[in-house]
């Protein structure tokens, strides 16, 4: 539905960042939705915007107070922080010191200072104060940049809560940990930190980095003893699925204040897609070990969550731990799912799993309506 | 039937106050006499055979308990006191 929004005043949106390579980050002041979007003269903002028409993707609605990115080269608008999105996540770097064989966001050495700055600006200007995810690469790899980022977002009064994905290795540095905690003392942060093995051998093998287990565990303990809220994450692959209960034994031994354990099915994206055959293990085969791990977690007082599993692969005893988690722009339901009565409660599959990556054996048939019902 | 038995306790093993605390608990129907020598104490137990045996056994057991407490907890005594005081102060300051 073409929706020619004639923006009369420059006040309808406000530039928040000018140093991006090929576009603008703007804070918008009114609703804009699918179709064409006209930007009138913002001549004094950036000269490279010569053309004034941008295309908005299907099913995207942007609201007053959202942060959007106008990609000048591709004439496209994409959402950065949107009130309509189920999840808002900002990428602050693509550099990393781990090399997980299943990495969905493979690392590179691209310059990232602008990513930290833009993320800070976006958070500071965004109208909403719901939780924002921070990911990478490894967001804390460059400690100074990360501290700068935290300082920048402290300059506004909102104290936006954050969900930060990190391998935790930087937090083995007690001084750095102290600095971070000082800068975030008034902010609610959930630290999402992966542990893929119950010992150094397995974990380091999964993350492709020697010494990772030590540093991650030290980091986890430093954060945990500071009573920080930790979401421990385990990605389940052929290498570690049988050891899930032992990972639970490890975390219940070492981390008294871990808030929750997220057990995650593989997302066939990035390197996980490339190595899919060697990594994937059908959910059905995982469940026995997941059940044991979740039981151990529960009786020790740690909560558990299952992510990225199609609902039909989760037995009823584990349903209460299930999260409909695949983010909006990634989910996909094969035709087979159209007759499933539980479709609306299910996160479906990753759109990256279309084709050979979709494991039909993981779909169970008993929740489907029959023609006669 | 009566009997008398003596126990000798080295002064280097136990200080006077704790020694006297141990003697304190000996059953009063057992006749007890304490004599002090230069480097050791002598306790003389006398009375009914069964009573004397029992009291000596209790005394030895209490002596052992004392040694054990000393060995097991001495090293951390100061630290434990610090922990408690610090925790109490924390309760007061959170208020």
């Amino acid at each position: 539905m073409a929706n020619d929004v004639l923006v009369e005043r420059q006040n309808d949106f406000q530039l928040i960042e000018t140093n991006a390579f090929d576009g603008l980050y703007v804070y918008i002041d009114r609703e804009i939705s699918e179709g064409e979007f006209n930007i009138p003269s913002i001549t004094d903002i950036k000269e490279s915007i010569s053309e004034q028409h941008f295309k908005i993707k299907e099913n995207h609605d942007f609201m007053h107070g959202d942060i959007i990115y106008l990609n000048n080269r591709r004439r496209k608008i994409s959402g950065v922080l949107n009130q309509n999105a189920r999840q808002n996540t900002l990428l602050v770097t693509e550099k990393c010191d781990n090399l997980c064989s299943f990495c969905s966001q493979p690392p590179n050495e691209k310059d990232d200072i602008h990513l930290y700055l833009v993320a800070a600006e976006a958070i500071n200007n965004y109208r909403d104060d719901t939780v924002v995810g921070i990911t990478g690469g490894e967001p804390t790899l460059d400690k100074e940049k990360f501290l700068k980022f935290l300082t920048l977002i402290n300059s506004n009064n909102k104290q936006t809560p954050l969900h930060i994905l990190t391998n935790g290795r930087s937090f083995s540095d007690k001084e750095f940990t102290k600095e971070v905690l000082k800068l975030s003392s008034k902010r609610e942060i959930v630290w999402g930190i992966p542990v893929h093995g119950h010992n150094q051998k397995l974990h380091d093998d999964c993350v492709g980095a020697e010494g990772a287990f030590f540093e991650t565990l030290e980091g986890l303990m430093n954060l945990s003893y500071a009573r920080e809220f930790i979401e421990l994450r385990t990605v389940v692959t052929q290498k570690n699925y049988k050891f899930l209960p032992h990972i639970s034994e490890l975390i219940t031994s070492s981390l008294p204040f871990v808030a929750t354990h997220a057990i995650m099915n593989l997302e066939p994206r990035g390197w996980a897609r490339r190595n899919f055959e060697d990594l994937t293990i059908p959910p059905q085969e995982q469940m026995k070990y997941i059940d044991k791990a979740v039981s151990l977690n529960t009786i020790h007082g740690i909560s558990s969550s299952l992510y990225n599993y199609p609902l039909c692969s989760v037995p009823s005893g584990l349903r209460r731990f299930y999260h409909k988690s695949i983010s909006d722009w990634k989910n996909y339901y094969p035709d087979f799912c159209n007759t499933c009565v539980e479709k609306k409660d299910c996160g479906g599959f990753f759109s990256s799993s279309i084709g050979v990556y979709l494991d039909y054996s993981s779909i169970s048939g008993d929740k489907h309506e029959t023609k006669s019902s | 039937m009566n009997e008398q038995q003596n126990l000798q306790i080295d002064k280097s093993d136990i200080d006077e106050i704790n020694f006297r605390k141990l003697v304190y608990w000996i059953d009063e129907s057992c006749n007890v006499e304490v004599t002090e020598e230069k480097s050791f104490w002598v306790i003389s137990f006398s009375g009914d055979v069964a009573l004397v045996e029992r009291e000596i056994s209790k005394f030895n057991k209490a002596l052992n308990d004392f040694f054990l407490r000393k060995k097991v907890s001495d090293e951390t005594a100061q630290l434990r006191e610090k922990i408690i005081i610090s925790a109490l102060n924390r309760v007061a300051s959170d208020a």
Binding site: I299 | R80, V91
Partner: protein
């Protein structure tokens, strides 16, 4: 195979099996063969599951990981101690020592119904609440004890009303421990309106209950039964909990006790042994029992409960399970350092402040002033500096008490200095002669054995653990 080395742990034999435990609070149940192989470092003789478990739980460690594992152990120990030293959450207030029952094991040395001078003066209400505000953090549970608290109902009403105002920024709950003698419809209505919980003693069926807990004024059992039924029918939102004190007379009647609880609509119960306080000290010969006798009774009772087809929880077992799996500090009587002040505070009818209910009971029979930690009319800060409190607490670290230091259960058990002071005249006591220790060991032995060898108990215990 990578080279593995031992880390420190304690162990205990349970017939043909062993249980080992460490400062990380973890345990492992092992066959005798497995235990022997571990001790001899014959790790290749273990199956992979057992080996992975003892490694994950830091009983053994690859040689190059030892430093990390040591940090894990010491940090977890520090956490357990730290968690035990959090601001108190339980505050007991004694509105009166007067009572309308004549329980033969009365632990509190009650006063006669018409006696003078045993009521808490209302002028202390603000001071008490000020102390509660000072010592609690975000949460406070106020428990009215006695005597029979409802005899001084006016005090309770005024107290609750004032507390709800002063402590409005905290999460406050109230419970009245009562034998229900003075209960009236007015009181029940107030309890319902103000969302007060009731904790009731029910020792067993009518004969057992009335023999243990007679009253000159009423038929205690019938009154209790009638009141509970009335509350359940007309005031279903009032939360009721019940406990049974075990005397020699109870030992023959585990089924009757369970049946009574079920009949009165309870889905959980707390069964506790006698303690050496108050009148129980004098009547021990008649009412008391050996730890073996108690435990035979308890095993039978637990078996009845576990086999019950429906929801029924026994709190003594659950408390021990929570200690084993979560090192939970919710029960003030089973923690280390001891729960004096850091578990509970007691404001007696005289205005004196004690660090536990047992302390005030012991004071009643001995008059030992050292047990009094403060007074409500004084500044709360004075209590922090009390030398007796510091002395009592600093020796209640279970890791350095003889007898406890090598016990496989020391991360799960607790220090009870007041018990040992009462029973043996010494805060630490000689655990080899301690009824408390004996009972706790039997309890832990039994819980571990049943959990790992009895399918039904395993399932039931896990259910209870997941509910709490």
């Amino acid at each position: 195979m990578r080279e593995l080395t031992h880390l420190p742990y304690n162990f205990r034999r349970l017939d043909d099996n062993f249980v080992i435990s460490n400062y990380a609070g973890q345990h492992q149940y092992l066959s005798e063969d497995d235990f022997t192989n571990i001790c001899k470092s014959d790790f290749e003789k273990l199956d992979s599951e057992t080996l992975s478990s003892i490694e994950s739980k830091s009983f053994v460690s690859p040689v190059d990981e030892v430093e990390l594992r040591q940090r894990i152990l010491s940090s977890k120990l520090a956490t357990r101690i730290y968690s035990s030293l959090q601001p108190p959450g339980l505050f007991m207030v004694v509105p009166t020592l007067r009572c309308d029952h004549d329980c033969n094991y009365c632990q509190v040395s009650r006063a006669d119904y018409n006696a003078q001078g045993y009521d808490l003066d209302e002028k202390y209400i603000n001071d008490i609440i000020k102390h509660i505000d000072f010592f609690s953090k975000d949460y406070a549970k106020v428990e009215f004890q006695g005597g029979e608290p409802l005899i001084n109902f006016e005090f309770i009403k005024r107290f609750v009303s004032q507390a709800k105002i002063t402590l409005k920024d905290k999460d406050v709950s109230f419970v009245i421990a009562t034998a229900l003698g003075p209960i009236t419809d007015e009181i029940i209505e107030w309890v319902d309106k103000e969302k007060i919980d009731l904790s009731i003693s029910i020792d067993g069926d009518e004969v057992l209950h009335n023999t243990n807990r007679p009253s000159k004024r009423i038929n205690s059992f019938v009154n209790t039964q009638h009141t509970i039924r009335k509350i359940r029918s007309f005031y279903p939102n009032v939360s009721l909990s019940a406990l049974s004190t075990v005397t020699r007379l109870s030992l023959e009647k585990p089924q009757a006790i369970v049946d009574t609880f079920l009949d009165l609509g309870f889905r959980d119960m707390f069964v506790r042994p006698l303690s050496p306080y108050g009148f129980a000290v004098d009547t021990w010969r008649k009412l008391g029992y050996s730890s073996d006798e108690f435990f035979e009774f308890y095993k039978e009772l637990l078996d009845i409960i576990v086999n019950y087809d429906g929801e029924l929880i026994e709190y003594n077992a659950l408390l021990h399970l929570n200690r084993i799996f979560k090192q939970s500090n919710s029960h003030v009587d089973l923690k280390s350092p001891a729960g004096l002040i850091f578990g509970a505070m007691v404001f007696d009818y005289s205005g004196d402040i004690f660090g536990s209910d047992e302390s005030r009971m012991l004071y009643k029979t001995t008059g030992s002033e050292e047990l009094i930690l403060g007074n409500v009319s004084k500044n709360p800060k004075d209590l922090i500096k009390n030398k007796n409190l510091i002395a009592m607490l600093k020796d209640s670290f279970i890791e350095v008490n003889p007898g406890c230091c090598d016990c496989a259960y020391n991360q799960y058990c607790g220090a009870d200095p007041i018990y040992h002071l009462s029973a043996q005249g010494d805060l630490i006591g000689d655990k080899s002669k301690s009824f408390f220790c004996d009972l706790e060991i039997k309890m832990f032995d039994y819980i571990f054995t049943k959990y790992y060898s009895d399918e039904l108990y395993y399932r039931k215990f896990n259910e209870w653990l997941m509910m709490s």
